[in-house]
Symmetry: C3
Subunit: 207 residues, 3 copies
């Protein structure tokens, strides 16, 4: 993938993550500024976390104004048109899966570039992908959905692992990045379609 294409994909990821975050804000009846803050935090939170952890400050998402404009626009759109957005639920879920794939892959690659070893780079890649959603859920008073179901963390982990392994084999590049991102996307879509879920603990009394 060319840099320009990656950049477009990155902005699409920010857009759909902002949609999901702003929808959560609307569901909690936040006012318009609260909806924008939750939407933007969901969209850029993962990238912020990544850049702080690899020591590249100020974070990239704060140095390129397009990230904030796109996430604000998506949030305002949700605020005014949320019944229509919720009818698009399937589109949002698919885009979220695509965004997750891209964020995980670019986060892992950036961490490797910054000299983080394999295991640490995997963690940073996963955090880049799931960080925004975790921030969204904390801000709206929910236990993060990524912790609760639907093979979200596993998909992210496999995507990050693909990039790390390709890097270890000396074959990192656009092709392995695309395979990693597509893998994340595919697992998420399959999990949604087939209602897969990971094992939950046995013998815990329901409280």
């Amino acid at each position: 993938m060319s840099i320009a294409l990656l950049s477009v994909f990155d902005l699409v990821g920010v857009f759909v993550f902002a949609l999901a975050g702003a929808s959560a804000g609307v569901a909690k009846r936040l006012d318009i500024f609260g909806v924008v803050v939750v939407g933007a935090a969901s969209a850029i939170g993962g990238g912020l976390l990544r850049d702080v952890l690899i020591g590249q400050t100020p974070p990239f998402v704060l140095r390129d104004w397009r990230y904030l404009v796109v996430s604000t626009a998506a949030s305002v759109m949700v605020f005014y048109f949320h019944p229509q957005v919720s009818r698009l639920r399937r589109v949002v879920l698919l885009s979220d899966a695509a965004g997750l794939g891209l964020f995980v892959v670019t986060g892992t690659a950036k961490a490797l570039d910054a000299g983080v070893p394999a295991v640490g780079a995997t963690v940073i890649g996963v955090l880049t992908g799931i960080g925004g959603g975790v921030i969204r859920d904390l801000l709206t008073g929910e236990i993060p959905v990524v912790l609760r179901r639907e093979i979200y963390a596993l998909a992210a982990l496999l995507g990050a692992g693909t990039v790390v392994i390709a890097d270890g084999l000396g074959i990192a590049g656009p092709a392995s990045a695309a395979v990693g991102a597509a893998g994340v996307f595919g697992i998420r879509v399959l999990a949604l379609v087939r209602r897969w879920s990971a094992p939950t603990p046995r013998d815990v009394p329901t409280t």
Copy 2:
């Protein structure tokens, strides 16, 4: 404003933010150490976030002992005298508005100095102002109040915008900082007095 005056104002901001944080801790019946931790986190959280995002570590609030002494003292005061503090609710709200103004303005100016572009500097300024309150609400199990009402985020945004625009016009300095801080203060006070609030989403079923 001279540096010395700014520094005094900064400490006043820390003091009143600690009062608000510690009061929230008392309302949740935390013990004295919990009250101090929530008070201090509310007071210095915004500054910590700002310095981590612009890469100025260790953060300033950890390098100058007065910030921690002032926020601890304010928290202990609230713990022992909270019925009197709650009678001073109006004073705390006014001081909080003043603290917000100052933190937003100094946060934005510091980010611009660190080379963050306009849009990113605005975000960092807003985060400096609202960060402590968000941390307070997360620690005490509440959805952050800044997301829910009273034009808090809007006031912060306008204050940060004033500094950024003044900087763009080449007229940044004590005067524009004072205008920005006073603007934040004025909007917050008007919003409190007139019970202004921002639009909330239509058609969301109450849950």
Copy 3:
């Protein structure tokens, strides 16, 4: 203490903090990936926070793969054997007290080494010790237990203070570190055995 011994103690601390975090995840009926994420975040969260605050990025816990392997293994163990783990509750509490002591002492020492002044280094030491538990409680939707009871924050504060004072007197070294860590451990164990608790605010209506 030699470096090798410190490193072993550090990994033991990571292990027991992961046990406590994963147990909280199981109690919330998270799936296996959620349990691992909460366990790992509890175990390495304090160290992440410490390194970000002192500007040593990428954080140490992401540069040494053993931290993540140990915390993942502890979490998986809890997921599959949690009834047995909960029977070991006393062991986990004792180990947690030991881990707290070690994390506080090493966190404070690292902050002093990085040039953070005494008061700030104390705060960073306390955050290193309590940070993982706070992250665990936020992720599982609880008010952080460190804020609520059992002299947890006080023990951490005294341990950090011991290191800072020893440093000020020019007698910092393995001996003072051991005294600080043992002091934290002792206070925690006494607080658990004797059911000590810190004063809570008077006159707050139960809500």
